[in-house]
């Protein structure tokens, strides 16, 4: 289901209406149902993977909190992150295995090439890891209600292209008994329209212009190639930030404020500033959960800071 399709619009209208109609205590169920419908439309397997990941992280967080500040909590954290990252990498790269190994000798690999990457797995894996680490550090409490946690992880607007939301931030908003706010609905709808415009009118139109150049670049003179490179930058920015606008606008209709992902990145005056303005939810996630822990842990090594930066960029 594309974020700029009629099916998405129907899901948005139906789920937003149900969200404000059902009793406050059942809002999480509406969000879960909408998330499952969104994933099911892509593939039923995506639903199974997402629910399995949610359950693993739900129970792990409860156990970590129970054994806080012990070696057991550390072991549970590392084991669960390994499962999360293993699932992500496994689904991402298993399809390439038949190309590396002869599937005649490894029958288990047959069909791996046609496996689809479960929709949204990158985004909810990062969210789950962030959630676990926050609980492990003792900065946030583990969510007792499995359905509420699932609703924060499976919130459908952010499954397609992010942003990578911090579950605790979302849960805090879910806990506030808000009423339908027509101002929010209007602003949200406006942002969704802006996102669709950026995606369909700007990015896709530019794609039609530059795709022939990229498909057959040999023999073309330099100026069209330079123009195509410049336009590609505009295309990728509008494509990605268009999807983000659709996600943020949709969430706003429900009364949620998601993390903005872009802040005029091309006005940055340095590379580091660019990374603080481009895909903000990913760069802040890697800063908080990869760079900072590594850099602090290795702070007494001569090259600890540099090593932490290199590893962070590898993760990015």
């Amino acid at each position: 289901m594309l974020a700029h399709s009629a099916e998405y619009l129907i899901l948005l209208i139906v789920s937003a209406t149900a969200f404000f109609v059902v009793p406050f205590a059942l809002r999480w169920a509406v969000l879960c149902a909408a998330g499952i419908a969104f994933l099911w439309y892509a593939s039923p397997e995506a639903v199974v993977v997402a629910i399995a990941m949610t359950l693993v992280n739900y129970f792990a967080a409860l156990r970590i909190e129970k054994h806080l500040d012990t070696q057991r909590a550390y072991g549970l954290l590392i084991a669960t992150i390994t499962v999360d990252v293993g699932a992500l990498l496994g689904f991402k790269y298993i399809r390439f295995l038949p190309r590396l190994f002869d599937s005649a000798h490894l029958p288990a690999l047959k069909g791996a090439e046609s496996l689809l990457l479960p929709l949204g797995i990158s985004y909810y894996t990062f969210q789950c890891i962030g959630y676990l680490v926050e609980v492990y550090w003792g900065r946030s409490a583990a969510e007792r209600h499995c359905g509420r946690l699932a609703s924060s992880i499976l919130f459908f607007p952010k499954l397609m292209a992010g942003p990578i939301e911090r579950p605790h931030r979302f849960l805090l908003q879910l806990g506030a008994p808000t009423r339908m706010d027509l101002g929010n609905v209007g602003r949200g709808a406006e942002q969704v329209c802006l996102g669709v415009f950026r995606k369909c009118v700007i990015a896709d139109r530019i794609g039609r212009i530059i795709d022939p150049v990229y498909k057959n670049f040999e023999g073309r003179p330099g100026i069209p190639l330079l123009v195509a490179i410049g336009l590609y930058t505009v295309q990728i920015y509008n494509d990605f930030s268009g999807y983000t606008d659709i996600a943020l606008g949709t969430a706003r209709i429900f009364g949620f404020e998601l993390t903005p992902n872009f802040n005029r990145p091309f006005s940055a005056r340095s590379v580091s500033e660019f990374w603080r303005r481009w895909h903000i939810s990913l760069s802040s996630w890697t800063t908080d959960y990869v760079y900072k822990p590594l850099a602090i842990h290795l702070r007494n090594w001569s090259f600890g800071g540099s090593l932490a930066i290199v590893i962070t960029f590898l993760v990015l």
Binding site: D69, Y136, W137, G138, R139, Y291, A295, I296, R299, G305
Partner: protein, 83 residues
């Protein structure tokens, strides 16, 4: 004689001015990274290392990650110096 929390805050302020190379830093218990220009993720690590060296204490990773503001850091230094 052990330092008071107020004295610790003043000393931490001096360390911040040295590391961030500016005399304009004025810290309070509620100060966070968002309130101080130049206190980014790179300088955060330098600040932690400099504070540790100044007070002769060692923070655990989890302790550092739990700091919500400067006050939390000063209270932990006070506790560590006291013990």
């Amino acid at each position: 004689m052990s330092k008071t929390p107020a004295e610790i805050l003043l000393e931490v302020n001096v360390v911040f001015c040295e590391v961030l190379a500016t005399p304009d830093v004025v810290l309070t218990d509620s100060t966070t990274a968002n309130d101080v220009e130049g206190w980014d993720s790179l300088n955060h690590v330098r600040l932690i290392a400099a504070v540790e060296e100044r007070f002769g204490v060692k923070f655990m990773l989890k302790e550092v990650m739990r700091f919500a503001n400067v006050g939390d850091m000063c209270r932990l230094i006070y506790t560590k110096l006291g013990s």
